[in-house]
């Protein structure tokens, strides 16, 4: 009898970890950084917390898009280039005199959707794994950036643009954070309450069974890459407004952050498993590591090393805990 109770506990523990493991990692990290930050009084202040959220917002946004690509056992390596290209597009449109909202909508949202659709269509048409396709389109989009921008940053936007994204609600919370949370809320709803979301999970779990159950794989592949592209476009809008310029080299290597956010958030590379809120926390972990390393006064050269090591540790811890299941 005793052994039954044991098993029950073990099982519920692994279930709890699946749900809250990412949160546990975040808390561990907060404690770690709080202990080792050079100026302890500064780390856990409201302004620094808001600052962390602000810095994390773009990572959360692209992480959410990446989450969908990984959910169908794929990947999107082009999010960084889509981010940069949509920023440039929106910037060019604004500077050409288009109203700010329209320019952002066309450049970032529509632009991101089109680039995502290109990824999805190529995957469907060629049957090649998304890794290869998006590796290729990543270069193509980066090339387009150079052609369109002539390798120069686009800046001098109408002031409303910066004002909107950097507007602080209650004088405290920047819009970027609200955008990230709102997006997460919408995508959480999509994944848990809509048939669209359910079918994506089914596809990710067993592609063949999905096809034989009436789920059109190609259609959902296209949708998923459009979602990823739109998320990258929204991140492009946020980053462009934050920095006040659309840089051709913006977000180089951001696909790593996006993938890391999704994976730290417990999304399975085999597809079909993961939760939106855990990806949000995954994005926060990335932002927190960035911020914490500054707080601990780690030399910027070493920051990358530590960042890589921390990502590996976070994911290994998760794998280790989940393996204790049997």
């Amino acid at each position: 009898m005793e052994s039954t109770d044991n098993l029950k506990q073990k099982k519920s523990f692994s279930q709890i970890w699946e749900r809250f493991g990412t949160l546990a990692i975040l808390i561990l990290l907060v404690i770690f950084i709080a202990l080792f930050s050079a100026d302890k009084s500064k780390f856990l202040t409201t302004s620094n917390i808001i600052n962390i959220l602000y810095q994390s917002s773009d990572k959360i946004i692209i992480g959410l898009g990446e989450f969908f690509a990984i959910l169908i056992a794929g990947i999107d390596l082009s999010v960084g280039s889509i981010l940069a290209l949509t920023g440039i597009l929106a910037g060019k449109l604004m500077n050409a005199g288009m109203p700010v909202m329209l320019a952002v909508f066309l450049g970032c949202i529509v632009g991101g959707a089109v680039m995502g659709a290109i990824n999805g269509l190529l995957v469907n048409f060629t049957g090649v794994h998304p890794f290869i396709i998006t590796l290729g389109t990543n270069w193509i989009f980066r090339g387009l950036i150079m052609i369109i921008s002539d390798a120069r940053a686009v800046s001098g936007f109408p002031p409303e643009f910066k004002a909107i994204i950097n507007y602080r609600i209650f004088g405290q919370i920047p819009m970027a954070i609200i955008i990230a949370l709102l997006l997460a809320l919408i995508l959480w709803f999509v994944t848990t309450r809509t048939k669209l979301g359910r079918n994506i999970y089914a596809f990710g779990g067993n592609r063949e069974a999905a096809w034989f159950s009436g789920i059109n794989i190609k259609f959902y592949t296209l949708i998923v890459f459009i979602i990823s592209g739109v998320c990258a476009g929204i991140a492009g809008m946020v980053i462009t407004a934050k920095t006040g310029a659309a840089e051709p080299l913006a977000a180089s290597g951001y696909e790593t952050f996006a993938i890391a956010a999704a994976i730290i958030g417990g999304t399975s590379f085999f597809g079909g498993k993961g939760r939106v809120w855990n990806v949000v926390i995954g994005g926060l972990v990335i932002g927190l590591i960035n911020n914490g390393l500054n707080m601990m006064r780690v030399d910027t050269f070493y920051q990358q090393v530590v960042m890589g090591a921390l990502i590996i540790s976070a994911v290994s811890l998760d794998t280790f805990v989940m393996r204790q299941k049997k």
């Binding site: 052994s3 039954t4 098993l7 029950k8 099982k11 848990t192 309450r193 809509t194 048939k195 669209l196 979301g197 359910r198 079918n199 999970y201 089914a202 990710g204 779990g205 067993n206 063949e208 069974a209 999905a210 096809w211 034989f212 159950s213 009436g214 789920i215 059109n216 259609f219 959902y220 949708i223 079909g272 498993k273 049997k326």
Partner: protein
């Protein structure tokens, strides 16, 4: 007689269920020990304890005088135990030869360096394939094989290594009678060499042909063991399994012929597939009719079903539902138009291993009432749960709750969940490809009853099966397939096993 293995008082607990409760079991040298029981009785769990996959909660395993509290896969293999799992474990991306030697590729020394000995592997693989009767090149990628061919590969894989104890968990579930007889020859040969074999099956007719002793499990408990020489009839085993007598014929087939022009619910005209596995096939299905498809492995029945359902490519041909031609370009169209296809391979094309029971059950119904390839609309969790509870009840699915993950169910219960999924789809015409694979005797007749109920309610049912007795007792009309063509059309009155076999070969 030497005991190869003895299991004493084994108990295995899973959260919420006792899968095995104080089971003792043994296997002698040169013996075929048959293990039977209803779906979820604990047969596979006991075998997974012997192959070292599961750790028992209590009890001992005695092999060669040594007592073990549990085994692990490596140890189990070293002790000479080989297993054919119920759910095929072949790897689709690898070749047949690679699958046979996976994890133990033999090497030879080339200038002092060990390299994989492909010549030996391919030679040995060809030999094994000949033995199990699979006419394929060892370098064929497993992905291209049908499920019965995969099952033969799985069997060959267990035979590559010299083993003393061979466990076969439903090895014949996907095999046709001819292949089963070949397997029995192999088993008899091994038995004469002193190998002990544990044989699990739901096909009770096989038991008398091959078994020496039978042990019955029920709900994780041991019902009893008997020498098969002392068993009078199949019914005696059924009573031990089910706890009551089962009447074999719950159903009566109807007379029906193709000439009947009334109430044609479904018609396929001149269907061909690009790979020529189906050649210009035409047939009609009447309302209130169960139509059976018979044929040998590779006769093109599965390919025909897939082509009709929009899951496989169709080169030519047209499909009519209730007299009107319908365009089916993908499986979504098929579902929307009122078709259902229960596939023959539950693990690969049937269930979603990341979903609970209730999400598996509602997967198709969700699509049915939405637009844009099923992407519109919200999930109604209450109706999903209701549907799942209903199917759990109707099909007697053994589970702790509908929120249990489907991978935690026994094979037969997984099959029932998928049947439930298609019943919820509320289709007009239902294509069942080997619906009773892995299903126990009692539940089988429940499923036949459900099929009869469906056609009584005005639907059409097509059943593909490699079990002739099943086809003969359930179907109103039988079409026999040979090499992608229909070679005979028999009414239930005309049809006999002999006629079907004659037309199929």
């Amino acid at each position: 007689m030497t005991k190869l293995i003895e299991v004493q008082h084994i108990t295995k607990e899973f959260p919420g269920v006792t899968a095995l409760d104080d089971i003792s079991f043994d296997l002698n040298e040169g013996e075929v020990h048959v293990l039977v029981g209803e779906n979820g009785a604990g047969k596979s769990t006991l075998m997974k304890i012997l192959s070292g996959v599961y750790t028992p909660t209590g009890g001992n395993i005695i092999i060669d005088g040594n007592s073990y509290s549990h085994l692990n896969p490596t140890l189990s293999q070293e002790l000479g135990i080989s297993i054919i799992y119920q759910e095929l474990s072949v790897i689709n991306e690898l070749s047949i030869a690679e699958n046979l030697f996976i994890g133990r590729l033999p090497t030879k020394q080339v200038v002092g360096v060990p390299v994989v000995d492909w010549k030996f592997i391919n030679g040995k693989a060809a030999e094994m394939l000949k033995m199990v009767g699979l006419k394929k090149n060892p370098s064929t990628v497993v992905e291209e094989l049908s499920i019965s061919e995969k099952q033969l590969v799985e069997i060959a894989k267990a035979l590559v290594m010299e083993t003393r104890i061979l466990i076969m968990d439903e090895p014949t579930s996907s095999l046709t009678p001819e292949e089963i007889q070949r397997l029995f020859k192999i088993i008899r040969n091994l038995r004469s060499k002193g190998v002990g074999i544990i044989y699990i099956s739901h096909k009770l007719d096989e038991i008398n042909q091959i078994g020496d002793r039978v042990t019955v499990l029920k709900d994780g408990g041991l019902v009893g063991s008997k020498k098969l020489s002392e068993v009078q009839s199949k019914e005696e085993i059924v009573v031990m399994m089910v706890g009551r007598e089962l009447k074999d014929k719950y159903f009566s087939t109807r007379q029906s012929s193709e000439d009947r022009e009334d109430e044609i619910i479904f018609e396929a005209r001149n269907i061909s597939t690009p790979d020529q596995k189906v050649k210009d096939v035409s047939f009609k299905l009447h309302k209130h009719e169960i139509l059976g498809f018979a044929g040998l492995m590779g006769a093109g029945r599965t390919e025909l079903m897939n082509a009709i359902f929009g899951a496989g490519k169709k080169e030519s041909g047209s499909i009519y539902l209730n007299g009107e031609e319908v365009q089916i370009n993908d499986t979504y169209d098929a579902v929307k138009k009122g078709l259902a296809l229960l596939t023959e391979n539950r693990r690969e094309t049937g269930f979603f291993h990341n979903f609970e029971i209730f999400k598996n059950v509602s997967a198709v119904e969700n699509l049915k009432h939405s637009k844009l390839k099923g992407a519109t609309g919200l999930i109604n969790t209450n109706s999903e749960k209701q549907m799942a509870e209903q199917q759990k009840e109707a099909l007697a699915i053994k589970c702790t709750s509908i929120f249990q993950n489907i991978t935690e169910l026994s094979g037969g219960n997984q099959q029932k969940v998928i049947i439930g999924k298609w019943l919820c789809a509320n289709a007009e015409v239902i294509l069942f490809d080997e619906p009773t694979r892995g299903i126990d005797v009692g539940s089988k007749s429940e499923i036949y009853k459900i099929m009869r109920q469906l056609v009584d309610d005005g639907k059409g049912v097509i059943m593909v099966s490699s079990e002739l007795p099943e086809l003969l007792s359930v179907c109103d009309r039988i079409l026999v397939f040979r090499k992608g063509e229909i070679s005979a059309r028999l009414t239930s009155a005309e049809a006999t096993e002999e006629k079907i076999i004659l037309a199929a070969t």
